[in-house]
Protein backbone atom coordinates (compact mmCIF):
# COMPACT_ATOMS: atom_id res chain seq x y z
CA UNK A 1 0.00 0.00 0.00
CA UNK A 2 2.92 2.28 0.61
CA UNK A 3 4.01 4.24 -2.37
CA UNK A 4 6.57 6.92 -2.84
CA UNK A 5 3.95 8.91 -4.74
CA UNK A 6 1.92 9.45 -1.60
CA UNK A 7 4.81 11.49 -0.20
CA UNK A 8 4.13 15.17 -0.47
CA UNK A 9 6.32 17.73 -2.08
CA UNK A 10 6.85 20.15 0.74
CA UNK A 11 7.69 23.79 0.41
CA UNK A 12 7.44 25.21 3.87
CA UNK A 13 5.60 22.64 5.97
CA UNK A 14 8.47 20.13 6.42
CA UNK A 15 10.88 22.83 7.45
CA UNK A 16 8.40 24.21 9.94
CA UNK A 17 7.91 20.73 11.42
CA UNK A 18 11.64 20.15 11.57
CA UNK A 19 12.71 23.49 12.95
CA UNK A 20 12.36 23.02 16.73
CA UNK A 21 14.07 19.62 16.73
CA UNK A 22 16.78 20.67 14.28
CA UNK A 23 17.43 23.82 16.25
CA UNK A 24 17.97 21.68 19.33
CA UNK A 25 20.32 19.31 17.51
CA UNK A 26 22.33 22.18 16.05
CA UNK A 27 22.56 24.20 19.27
CA UNK A 28 23.21 21.32 21.64
CA UNK A 29 24.88 18.69 19.49
CA UNK A 30 26.76 20.21 16.54
CA UNK A 31 27.85 23.43 18.25
CA UNK A 32 29.13 21.60 21.38
CA UNK A 33 31.18 19.26 19.17
CA UNK A 34 32.79 22.35 17.71
CA UNK A 35 33.47 23.81 21.18
CA UNK A 36 34.91 20.46 22.26
CA UNK A 37 37.31 20.53 19.31
CA UNK A 38 38.31 24.13 20.06
CA UNK A 39 39.02 23.29 23.69
CA UNK A 40 41.02 20.25 22.60
CA UNK A 41 43.32 22.59 20.69
CA UNK A 42 43.52 25.23 23.41
CA UNK A 43 45.90 26.08 26.19
CA UNK A 44 45.48 27.73 29.52
CA UNK A 45 47.75 30.78 29.40
CA UNK A 46 47.34 31.61 33.06
CA UNK A 47 46.75 28.90 35.63
CA UNK A 48 44.82 31.31 37.85
CA UNK A 49 42.35 32.46 35.22
CA UNK A 50 39.52 30.30 33.91
CA UNK A 51 40.12 31.35 30.30
CA UNK A 52 41.42 29.13 27.55
CA UNK A 53 43.13 30.34 24.42
CA UNK A 54 42.87 28.59 21.07
CA UNK A 55 46.52 28.04 20.17
CA UNK A 56 46.07 24.99 17.89
CA UNK A 57 48.10 22.94 20.31
CA UNK A 58 47.98 19.51 18.63
CA UNK A 59 50.32 18.21 21.32
CA UNK A 60 47.26 17.92 23.57
CA UNK A 61 46.34 14.86 21.55
CA UNK A 62 49.73 13.15 21.74
CA UNK A 63 50.02 14.03 25.44
CA UNK A 64 46.65 12.43 26.09
CA UNK A 65 47.60 9.26 24.20
CA UNK A 66 50.92 9.01 26.03
CA UNK A 67 49.34 9.49 29.40
CA UNK A 68 46.27 7.28 28.96
CA UNK A 69 47.46 4.54 26.65
CA UNK A 70 46.81 1.79 29.24
CA UNK A 71 43.21 2.94 29.73
CA UNK A 72 42.64 3.18 25.97
CA UNK A 73 44.00 -0.32 25.38
CA UNK A 74 42.06 -1.68 28.36
CA UNK A 75 38.76 -0.14 27.21
CA UNK A 76 38.96 -1.74 23.80
CA UNK A 77 40.27 -5.05 25.15
CA UNK A 78 37.48 -5.35 27.73
CA UNK A 79 34.86 -4.31 25.19
CA UNK A 80 36.25 -6.82 22.69
CA UNK A 81 36.17 -9.74 25.13
CA UNK A 82 32.70 -8.75 26.31
CA UNK A 83 31.47 -8.64 22.70
CA UNK A 84 32.81 -12.14 22.01
CA UNK A 85 31.11 -13.41 25.16
CA UNK A 86 27.88 -11.70 24.07
CA UNK A 87 28.03 -13.58 20.76
CA UNK A 88 28.75 -16.89 22.52
CA UNK A 89 25.87 -16.40 24.97
CA UNK A 90 23.46 -14.55 22.69
CA UNK A 91 23.69 -16.55 19.47
CA UNK A 92 22.34 -19.87 20.85
CA UNK A 93 19.60 -17.98 22.67
CA UNK A 94 18.61 -16.05 19.55
CA UNK A 95 18.59 -19.37 17.66
CA UNK A 96 16.35 -20.88 20.31
CA UNK A 97 13.97 -17.90 20.14
CA UNK A 98 13.82 -17.93 16.36
CA UNK A 99 13.34 -21.67 15.78
CA UNK A 100 12.44 -23.50 18.97
CA UNK A 101 10.47 -21.17 21.22
CA UNK A 102 7.11 -21.82 19.55
CA UNK A 103 4.19 -19.99 21.08
CA UNK A 104 6.33 -18.60 23.91
CA UNK A 105 8.35 -16.60 21.46
CA UNK A 106 6.85 -13.13 21.84
CA UNK A 107 6.70 -13.41 25.62
CA UNK A 108 10.35 -14.48 25.81
CA UNK A 109 11.37 -11.69 23.43
CA UNK A 110 9.60 -9.15 25.60
CA UNK A 111 11.31 -10.53 28.70
CA UNK A 112 14.72 -9.80 27.18
CA UNK A 113 13.80 -6.14 27.20
CA UNK A 114 12.68 -6.08 30.85
CA UNK A 115 16.17 -5.78 32.38
CA UNK A 116 16.75 -2.96 29.90
CA UNK A 117 13.91 -1.06 31.54
CA UNK A 118 15.41 -1.30 35.02
CA UNK A 119 18.19 1.03 35.93
CA UNK A 120 21.56 0.14 34.44
CA UNK A 121 23.22 1.38 37.61
CA UNK A 122 21.03 -0.61 39.96
CA UNK A 123 21.48 -3.80 37.95
CA UNK A 124 25.24 -3.33 38.22
CA UNK A 125 24.98 -2.70 41.97
CA UNK A 126 22.93 -5.90 42.23
CA UNK A 127 25.93 -7.72 40.76
CA UNK A 128 27.99 -6.24 43.60
CA UNK A 129 25.56 -7.96 45.96
CA UNK A 130 25.54 -11.26 44.09
CA UNK A 131 29.31 -11.43 43.63
CA UNK A 132 30.29 -9.84 46.95
CA UNK A 133 32.14 -11.54 49.80
CA UNK A 134 28.88 -12.36 51.56
CA UNK A 135 26.89 -12.85 48.35
CA UNK A 136 25.16 -15.99 47.09
CA UNK A 137 27.67 -16.73 44.29
CA UNK A 138 30.67 -17.10 46.59
CA UNK A 139 28.48 -18.81 49.18
CA UNK A 140 27.58 -21.49 46.65
CA UNK A 141 31.21 -21.93 45.60
CA UNK A 142 32.33 -22.22 49.22
CA UNK A 143 29.62 -24.77 49.98
CA UNK A 144 30.83 -26.84 47.04
CA UNK A 145 34.48 -26.10 47.97
CA UNK A 146 35.12 -24.94 44.46
CA UNK A 147 36.83 -21.64 45.29
CA UNK A 148 40.30 -23.06 44.66
CA UNK A 149 39.10 -24.36 41.29
CA UNK A 150 37.66 -21.01 40.20
CA UNK A 151 40.81 -19.30 41.45
CA UNK A 152 42.88 -21.67 39.33
CA UNK A 153 40.87 -21.08 36.15
CA UNK A 154 40.89 -17.33 36.73
CA UNK A 155 37.19 -16.82 37.35
CA UNK A 156 37.91 -15.53 40.85
CA UNK A 157 41.02 -13.94 42.29
CA UNK A 158 42.13 -14.85 45.81
CA UNK A 159 38.67 -16.20 46.50
CA UNK A 160 36.86 -13.03 45.38
CA UNK A 161 34.79 -12.15 42.32
CA UNK A 162 34.67 -8.41 42.81
CA UNK A 163 37.33 -5.83 42.04
CA UNK A 164 38.78 -7.90 39.22
CA UNK A 165 38.96 -7.38 35.46
CA UNK A 166 36.85 -10.54 35.14
CA UNK A 167 34.02 -8.88 37.04
CA UNK A 168 34.21 -5.79 34.82
CA UNK A 169 34.08 -7.87 31.63
CA UNK A 170 31.25 -9.91 33.13
CA UNK A 171 29.31 -6.75 33.95
CA UNK A 172 29.82 -5.36 30.45
CA UNK A 173 28.68 -8.66 28.94
CA UNK A 174 25.60 -8.71 31.12
CA UNK A 175 24.60 -5.11 30.45
CA UNK A 176 24.96 -5.20 26.68
CA UNK A 177 23.93 -8.76 25.75
CA UNK A 178 20.32 -7.77 24.80
CA UNK A 179 21.78 -5.60 22.03
CA UNK A 180 23.45 -8.71 20.66
CA UNK A 181 20.50 -11.10 21.05
CA UNK A 182 17.89 -8.93 19.32
CA UNK A 183 19.69 -8.19 16.01
CA UNK A 184 20.78 -11.84 15.69
CA UNK A 185 17.21 -12.92 16.37
CA UNK A 186 15.90 -10.54 13.70
CA UNK A 187 18.27 -11.91 11.06
CA UNK A 188 17.58 -15.55 12.04
CA UNK A 189 13.85 -15.04 12.03
CA UNK A 190 13.97 -13.84 8.42
CA UNK A 191 15.48 -17.13 7.23
CA UNK A 192 13.03 -19.11 5.15
CA UNK A 193 12.31 -22.40 6.95
CA UNK A 194 12.00 -24.10 3.56
CA UNK A 195 15.76 -23.67 3.10
CA UNK A 196 16.38 -25.91 6.07
CA UNK A 197 13.80 -28.42 4.87
CA UNK A 198 15.57 -28.42 1.54
CA UNK A 199 18.90 -29.06 3.21
CA UNK A 200 17.41 -31.94 5.15
CA UNK A 201 15.79 -33.38 2.04
CA UNK A 202 19.21 -33.30 0.43
CA UNK A 203 20.60 -35.35 3.32
CA UNK A 204 22.64 -32.60 4.87
CA UNK A 205 23.61 -33.05 8.50
CA UNK A 206 22.14 -30.41 10.81
CA UNK A 207 25.67 -29.15 11.44
CA UNK A 208 26.29 -28.67 7.73
CA UNK A 209 22.91 -27.01 7.25
CA UNK A 210 23.75 -24.63 10.06
CA UNK A 211 27.20 -23.85 8.68
CA UNK A 212 26.07 -23.39 5.07
CA UNK A 213 22.67 -21.74 5.48
CA UNK A 214 21.88 -20.40 8.89
CA UNK A 215 25.26 -19.02 9.83
CA UNK A 216 25.92 -17.02 6.61
CA UNK A 217 22.40 -15.62 6.59
CA UNK A 218 22.62 -14.55 10.22
CA UNK A 219 25.95 -12.78 9.88
CA UNK A 220 24.35 -9.35 9.28
CA UNK A 221 22.71 -9.72 12.69
CA UNK A 222 26.01 -10.66 14.33
CA UNK A 223 27.59 -7.68 12.59
CA UNK A 224 24.94 -5.25 13.82
CA UNK A 225 25.00 -6.79 17.29
CA UNK A 226 28.77 -6.46 17.48
CA UNK A 227 28.57 -2.74 16.74
CA UNK A 228 25.69 -2.28 19.20
CA UNK A 229 27.57 -4.00 22.02
CA UNK A 230 31.21 -3.12 21.35
CA UNK A 231 30.78 0.64 20.97
CA UNK A 232 28.76 1.29 24.14
CA UNK A 233 30.88 -1.23 26.10
CA UNK A 234 34.08 0.60 25.15
CA UNK A 235 32.60 3.93 26.27
CA UNK A 236 31.09 2.65 29.49
CA UNK A 237 32.82 3.13 32.81
CA UNK A 238 30.09 2.38 35.34
CA UNK A 239 30.99 -1.33 35.30
CA UNK A 240 34.68 -0.58 35.70
CA UNK A 241 34.00 1.78 38.60
CA UNK A 242 31.55 -0.45 40.45
CA UNK A 243 32.92 -3.94 39.78
CA UNK A 244 36.60 -3.26 39.17
CA UNK A 245 39.59 -1.92 41.06
CA UNK A 246 42.02 0.96 40.52
CA UNK A 247 43.78 -1.05 37.83
CA UNK A 248 40.65 -1.61 35.73
CA UNK A 249 39.84 2.04 34.94
CA UNK A 250 38.47 2.55 31.46
CA UNK A 251 38.77 5.55 29.19
CA UNK A 252 35.39 7.02 30.14
CA UNK A 253 36.27 7.43 33.79
CA UNK A 254 39.54 9.15 32.83
CA UNK A 255 37.68 11.64 30.64
CA UNK A 256 35.17 12.29 33.40
CA UNK A 257 37.92 12.69 35.99
CA UNK A 258 39.89 15.11 33.81
CA UNK A 259 36.80 17.23 33.21
CA UNK A 260 35.11 17.15 36.59
CA UNK A 261 37.94 16.67 39.11
CA UNK A 262 41.22 17.82 37.57
CA UNK A 263 39.66 20.55 35.39
CA UNK A 264 42.17 19.76 32.67
CA UNK A 265 39.76 20.57 29.85
CA UNK A 266 42.10 20.56 26.83
CA UNK A 267 43.49 17.12 27.56
CA UNK A 268 40.04 15.76 28.45
CA UNK A 269 38.58 17.11 25.21
CA UNK A 270 41.49 15.70 23.22
CA UNK A 271 40.96 12.32 24.85
CA UNK A 272 37.25 12.42 23.92
CA UNK A 273 38.17 13.05 20.31
CA UNK A 274 40.79 10.30 20.28
CA UNK A 275 38.22 7.86 21.65
CA UNK A 276 35.68 8.95 19.04
CA UNK A 277 38.27 8.71 16.23
CA UNK A 278 39.34 5.19 17.21
CA UNK A 279 35.71 4.03 17.31
CA UNK A 280 34.90 5.61 13.93
CA UNK A 281 38.02 4.17 12.31
CA UNK A 282 37.27 0.78 13.84
CA UNK A 283 33.70 0.79 12.54
CA UNK A 284 34.85 1.75 9.03
CA UNK A 285 37.53 -0.97 8.93
CA UNK A 286 35.07 -3.51 10.28
CA UNK A 287 32.49 -2.52 7.67
CA UNK A 288 35.12 -2.76 4.94
CA UNK A 289 36.22 -6.22 6.09
CA UNK A 290 32.70 -7.58 6.23
CA UNK A 291 31.65 -5.85 3.05
CA UNK A 292 29.14 -3.09 2.51
CA UNK A 293 26.48 -5.65 1.66
CA UNK A 294 26.16 -6.66 5.31
CA UNK A 295 26.23 -3.05 6.40
CA UNK A 296 23.33 -2.17 4.14
CA UNK A 297 21.33 -5.09 5.50
Amino acid sequence: MASETSLRQGRKAPYALLSPGMLWLILFFLVPMWTLLRIALSEKPNAFLPDYELTWRWANFSDAVDRFQPELVRSFAYAGIATLLCIAIGYPLAYFLAFKAGRWRSLLLGLIMVPFFTSFLIRTIAWQTILGQEGPALGLLRALSLVSVTDAIGLTRDGAFLNTPQAVVGGLTYNFVPFMILPIYVSLEKIDARLMDAAQDLYSTPAAAFRKIVLPLSLPGVFAGTLLTFIPAAGDYINAELLGNVKTGMIGSQIAKLFLKESNYPEAAALSFIFMAIITAGVLIYAKLLGTEELAA
Binding site: M1, Q9, L25, R38, K100, G110, P115, I125, T129, K212
Partner: protein, 287 residues
Amino acid sequence: MTEPLLAERFVLEEVVHEPLPPEKRRFRSRLLGLWAVLVYAWLFAPIVVVVIFSFNDPAGKFNTAWNEFTLDNWADPFQRQDYTEAFLTSLKVAAVACLVATVFGGLMALATSRYEFRGKGLVNIILVLPLTTREIVMGSSLFTLFFARNASLGFTTVVIAHILFCLSFVALTVQARVRGFDWSLEDAAMDLGSSPWRTFRTVTFPLILPGIAAAGLLSFALSIDDYIITSFVAGDGTTTFPMRIFNANKTELPPQINVLASMILLVTVGLMGIGAWRTLKRNAAAS
Protein backbone atom coordinates in the same frame (compact mmCIF):
# COMPACT_ATOMS: atom_id res chain seq x y z
CA MET B 1 21.58 -14.71 -2.51
CA THR B 2 18.77 -16.80 -3.93
CA GLU B 3 17.34 -20.00 -2.64
CA PRO B 4 18.17 -22.43 -5.46
CA LEU B 5 21.74 -21.22 -5.36
CA LEU B 6 22.05 -22.23 -1.73
CA ALA B 7 20.46 -25.59 -2.37
CA GLU B 8 22.86 -26.16 -5.24
CA ARG B 9 25.79 -25.46 -2.97
CA PHE B 10 24.64 -28.35 -0.85
CA VAL B 11 24.45 -30.82 -3.64
CA LEU B 12 27.81 -29.83 -4.99
CA GLU B 13 29.84 -29.57 -1.83
CA GLU B 14 28.31 -31.56 0.92
CA VAL B 15 28.83 -35.22 1.46
CA VAL B 16 25.50 -36.97 1.63
CA HIS B 17 24.48 -38.04 5.11
CA GLU B 18 21.67 -39.98 6.63
CA PRO B 19 19.23 -37.66 8.41
CA LEU B 20 19.75 -37.45 12.14
CA PRO B 21 17.63 -39.86 14.22
CA PRO B 22 14.77 -38.05 15.95
CA GLU B 23 16.00 -38.73 19.49
CA LYS B 24 19.31 -37.00 18.73
CA ARG B 25 17.39 -34.07 17.26
CA ARG B 26 15.24 -33.81 20.36
CA PHE B 27 18.37 -33.90 22.50
CA ARG B 28 19.75 -30.88 20.64
CA SER B 29 16.49 -28.99 21.11
CA ARG B 30 16.55 -29.77 24.82
CA LEU B 31 20.13 -28.55 25.08
CA LEU B 32 19.13 -25.26 23.46
CA GLY B 33 16.15 -24.99 25.79
CA LEU B 34 18.38 -25.57 28.79
CA TRP B 35 20.75 -22.87 27.55
CA ALA B 36 17.80 -20.48 27.22
CA VAL B 37 16.73 -21.22 30.80
CA LEU B 38 20.25 -20.53 32.06
CA VAL B 39 20.57 -17.27 30.10
CA TYR B 40 17.20 -16.03 31.34
CA ALA B 41 18.15 -16.92 34.92
CA TRP B 42 21.34 -14.91 34.46
CA LEU B 43 19.49 -11.97 32.88
CA PHE B 44 16.97 -11.81 35.70
CA ALA B 45 19.24 -12.65 38.66
CA PRO B 46 20.12 -9.02 39.45
CA ILE B 47 16.51 -7.90 39.18
CA VAL B 48 15.33 -10.65 41.47
CA VAL B 49 18.09 -9.69 43.92
CA VAL B 50 17.03 -6.02 43.83
CA VAL B 51 13.43 -6.93 44.64
CA ILE B 52 14.32 -9.50 47.34
CA PHE B 53 16.73 -7.12 49.05
CA SER B 54 14.05 -4.46 49.21
CA PHE B 55 12.59 -6.66 51.98
CA ASN B 56 15.89 -6.88 53.86
CA ASP B 57 16.73 -5.21 57.13
CA PRO B 58 20.48 -4.74 56.66
CA ALA B 59 22.84 -5.10 59.59
CA GLY B 60 25.16 -2.29 58.51
CA LYS B 61 25.15 0.61 56.08
CA PHE B 62 25.32 -1.64 53.05
CA ASN B 63 22.26 -3.56 51.99
CA THR B 64 24.35 -6.32 50.42
CA ALA B 65 24.10 -9.21 52.89
CA TRP B 66 20.82 -10.83 53.86
CA ASN B 67 19.97 -10.17 57.50
CA GLU B 68 16.27 -10.22 58.30
CA PHE B 69 12.96 -10.00 56.50
CA THR B 70 11.12 -6.72 57.01
CA LEU B 71 8.32 -4.73 55.43
CA ASP B 72 9.58 -1.46 56.93
CA ASN B 73 11.34 -0.37 53.75
CA TRP B 74 8.13 -0.65 51.75
CA ALA B 75 6.08 0.91 54.53
CA ASP B 76 8.31 3.95 54.43
CA PRO B 77 10.02 4.14 51.01
CA PHE B 78 10.60 7.88 51.32
CA GLN B 79 12.34 7.72 54.67
CA ARG B 80 15.68 8.81 53.26
CA GLN B 81 14.96 12.34 52.17
CA ASP B 82 18.12 12.77 50.08
CA TYR B 83 17.22 9.75 47.96
CA THR B 84 13.59 10.78 47.69
CA GLU B 85 14.57 14.26 46.55
CA ALA B 86 16.92 12.83 43.93
CA PHE B 87 14.16 10.45 42.82
CA LEU B 88 11.70 13.34 42.42
CA THR B 89 14.31 15.34 40.50
CA SER B 90 14.75 12.39 38.16
CA LEU B 91 10.98 12.11 37.65
CA LYS B 92 10.72 15.84 36.91
CA VAL B 93 13.62 15.77 34.46
CA ALA B 94 12.23 12.68 32.75
CA ALA B 95 8.72 14.15 32.51
CA VAL B 96 9.86 17.42 30.90
CA ALA B 97 12.50 15.79 28.68
CA CYS B 98 10.13 13.06 27.56
CA LEU B 99 7.35 15.54 26.73
CA VAL B 100 9.53 17.97 24.78
CA ALA B 101 11.52 15.25 23.02
CA THR B 102 8.36 13.39 22.02
CA VAL B 103 6.75 16.50 20.54
CA PHE B 104 9.89 17.75 18.77
CA GLY B 105 10.95 14.27 17.65
CA GLY B 106 7.44 13.36 16.54
CA LEU B 107 7.24 16.49 14.40
CA MET B 108 10.62 15.69 12.86
CA ALA B 109 9.50 12.13 12.08
CA LEU B 110 6.34 13.49 10.49
CA ALA B 111 8.39 15.81 8.30
CA THR B 112 10.89 13.18 7.16
CA SER B 113 8.40 10.40 6.55
CA ARG B 114 5.59 12.42 5.03
CA TYR B 115 7.32 14.94 2.82
CA GLU B 116 9.86 14.98 0.06
CA PHE B 117 12.06 18.04 0.45
CA ARG B 118 15.53 19.37 -0.21
CA GLY B 119 18.11 18.52 2.43
CA LYS B 120 16.27 15.42 3.66
CA GLY B 121 19.42 13.29 3.44
CA LEU B 122 21.33 15.76 5.58
CA VAL B 123 18.52 15.89 8.13
CA ASN B 124 18.58 12.10 8.41
CA ILE B 125 22.35 12.10 8.96
CA ILE B 126 22.10 14.76 11.68
CA LEU B 127 19.34 12.69 13.30
CA VAL B 128 21.46 9.53 13.43
CA LEU B 129 24.70 11.18 14.61
CA PRO B 130 23.71 11.59 18.28
CA LEU B 131 22.83 7.89 18.44
CA THR B 132 26.30 6.91 17.28
CA THR B 133 27.98 9.33 19.67
CA ARG B 134 29.05 7.82 22.97
CA GLU B 135 27.53 9.24 26.13
CA ILE B 136 30.93 10.23 27.44
CA VAL B 137 31.61 12.31 24.30
CA MET B 138 28.15 13.88 24.31
CA GLY B 139 28.50 14.70 28.01
CA SER B 140 31.92 16.25 27.62
CA SER B 141 30.91 18.29 24.56
CA LEU B 142 27.88 19.72 26.39
CA PHE B 143 30.10 20.42 29.37
CA THR B 144 32.51 22.45 27.22
CA LEU B 145 29.59 24.33 25.62
CA PHE B 146 28.13 25.34 28.97
CA PHE B 147 31.59 26.16 30.23
CA ALA B 148 32.40 28.32 27.21
CA ARG B 149 29.07 30.13 27.49
CA ASN B 150 29.46 30.59 31.26
CA ALA B 151 26.12 28.88 31.79
CA SER B 152 25.52 27.73 35.34
CA LEU B 153 24.93 23.99 35.57
CA GLY B 154 21.71 22.74 37.10
CA PHE B 155 18.20 21.51 36.40
CA THR B 156 17.91 23.41 33.09
CA THR B 157 21.15 22.07 31.64
CA VAL B 158 20.21 18.53 32.69
CA VAL B 159 16.84 18.86 30.92
CA ILE B 160 18.53 20.29 27.82
CA ALA B 161 20.89 17.31 27.69
CA HIS B 162 18.13 14.76 28.27
CA ILE B 163 15.94 16.24 25.53
CA LEU B 164 18.94 16.04 23.21
CA PHE B 165 19.67 12.35 23.73
CA CYS B 166 15.99 11.38 23.61
CA LEU B 167 15.24 13.39 20.47
CA SER B 168 16.86 11.08 17.93
CA PHE B 169 15.43 7.97 19.60
CA VAL B 170 11.94 9.42 19.36
CA ALA B 171 12.29 10.63 15.77
CA LEU B 172 13.69 7.31 14.53
CA THR B 173 11.18 5.19 16.49
CA VAL B 174 8.21 7.15 15.14
CA GLN B 175 9.77 7.15 11.66
CA ALA B 176 10.04 3.35 11.76
CA ARG B 177 6.43 3.02 12.89
CA VAL B 178 4.91 5.24 10.19
CA ARG B 179 7.08 3.86 7.38
CA GLY B 180 4.80 2.56 4.67
CA PHE B 181 1.84 4.57 5.85
CA ASP B 182 -0.37 5.63 2.93
CA TRP B 183 -0.56 9.39 3.22
CA SER B 184 -3.22 9.60 0.50
CA LEU B 185 -5.70 8.69 3.27
CA GLU B 186 -5.36 12.31 4.31
CA ASP B 187 -6.29 13.43 0.80
CA ALA B 188 -9.33 11.22 0.98
CA ALA B 189 -10.41 12.85 4.23
CA MET B 190 -9.86 16.32 2.79
CA ASP B 191 -11.72 15.45 -0.43
CA LEU B 192 -14.64 14.47 1.75
CA GLY B 193 -14.65 17.96 3.23
CA SER B 194 -12.58 17.52 6.36
CA SER B 195 -10.54 20.51 7.49
CA PRO B 196 -6.75 20.07 7.75
CA TRP B 197 -6.88 20.19 11.57
CA ARG B 198 -9.72 17.70 11.71
CA THR B 199 -7.87 15.46 9.26
CA PHE B 200 -4.84 15.52 11.52
CA ARG B 201 -6.92 14.84 14.60
CA THR B 202 -9.04 12.02 13.20
CA VAL B 203 -6.78 10.39 10.58
CA THR B 204 -3.09 11.19 11.00
CA PHE B 205 -2.76 11.39 14.77
CA PRO B 206 -4.50 8.07 15.61
CA LEU B 207 -2.23 6.35 13.09
CA ILE B 208 1.01 7.73 14.51
CA LEU B 209 -0.13 7.48 18.15
CA PRO B 210 1.24 3.95 18.88
CA GLY B 211 4.65 5.03 17.59
CA ILE B 212 4.53 8.22 19.64
CA ALA B 213 3.53 6.31 22.77
CA ALA B 214 6.33 3.77 22.33
CA ALA B 215 8.84 6.56 21.73
CA GLY B 216 7.62 8.47 24.77
CA LEU B 217 7.98 5.44 27.02
CA LEU B 218 11.44 4.74 25.63
CA SER B 219 12.64 8.30 26.20
CA PHE B 220 11.24 8.30 29.74
CA ALA B 221 13.19 5.12 30.47
CA LEU B 222 16.36 6.52 28.88
CA SER B 223 16.09 9.75 30.83
CA ILE B 224 15.45 8.23 34.24
CA ASP B 225 18.35 5.81 33.78
CA ASP B 226 21.06 8.15 32.57
CA TYR B 227 24.10 8.69 34.73
CA ILE B 228 27.05 9.52 32.48
CA ILE B 229 25.73 12.52 30.54
CA THR B 230 23.89 13.87 33.58
CA SER B 231 27.04 13.78 35.71
CA PHE B 232 28.66 16.21 33.26
CA VAL B 233 25.89 18.79 33.16
CA ALA B 234 24.25 18.63 36.60
CA GLY B 235 26.72 20.77 38.55
CA ASP B 236 26.72 20.74 42.33
CA GLY B 237 23.15 21.75 43.08
CA THR B 238 21.17 19.19 41.09
CA THR B 239 21.29 15.49 41.84
CA THR B 240 19.32 12.87 39.96
CA PHE B 241 18.52 9.42 41.34
CA PRO B 242 21.31 7.56 39.45
CA MET B 243 23.81 10.26 40.48
CA ARG B 244 22.80 10.00 44.12
CA ILE B 245 23.23 6.22 44.09
CA PHE B 246 26.54 6.34 42.25
CA ASN B 247 28.00 9.02 44.54
CA ALA B 248 26.91 7.21 47.69
CA ASN B 249 27.86 3.72 46.50
CA LYS B 250 31.23 3.63 48.26
CA THR B 251 29.86 4.77 51.62
CA GLU B 252 26.38 3.30 51.94
CA LEU B 253 23.61 1.38 50.20
CA PRO B 254 20.29 1.88 51.98
CA PRO B 255 17.41 -0.53 51.20
CA GLN B 256 15.25 2.41 50.08
CA ILE B 257 17.19 2.32 46.80
CA ASN B 258 15.85 -1.19 46.25
CA VAL B 259 12.30 -0.09 47.02
CA LEU B 260 12.43 2.88 44.64
CA ALA B 261 14.09 0.74 41.95
CA SER B 262 11.41 -1.95 42.39
CA MET B 263 8.78 0.76 41.93
CA ILE B 264 10.34 1.91 38.64
CA LEU B 265 10.44 -1.73 37.57
CA LEU B 266 6.78 -2.29 38.45
CA VAL B 267 5.66 0.82 36.54
CA THR B 268 7.70 0.13 33.39
CA VAL B 269 6.84 -3.57 33.29
CA GLY B 270 3.22 -2.64 33.90
CA LEU B 271 3.25 -0.18 31.00
CA MET B 272 4.99 -2.75 28.78
CA GLY B 273 2.38 -5.31 29.80
CA ILE B 274 -0.48 -2.96 28.92
CA GLY B 275 1.16 -2.26 25.57
CA ALA B 276 1.61 -5.96 24.85
CA TRP B 277 -1.96 -6.73 25.91
CA ARG B 278 -3.35 -4.01 23.63
CA THR B 279 -1.32 -5.30 20.70
CA LEU B 280 -2.59 -8.83 21.34
CA LYS B 281 -6.17 -7.58 21.49
CA ARG B 282 -5.77 -5.59 18.31
CA ASN B 283 -4.24 -8.57 16.52
CA ALA B 284 -7.07 -10.78 17.77
CA ALA B 285 -9.62 -8.25 16.54
CA ALA B 286 -7.89 -8.00 13.15
CA SER B 287 -7.83 -11.73 12.52
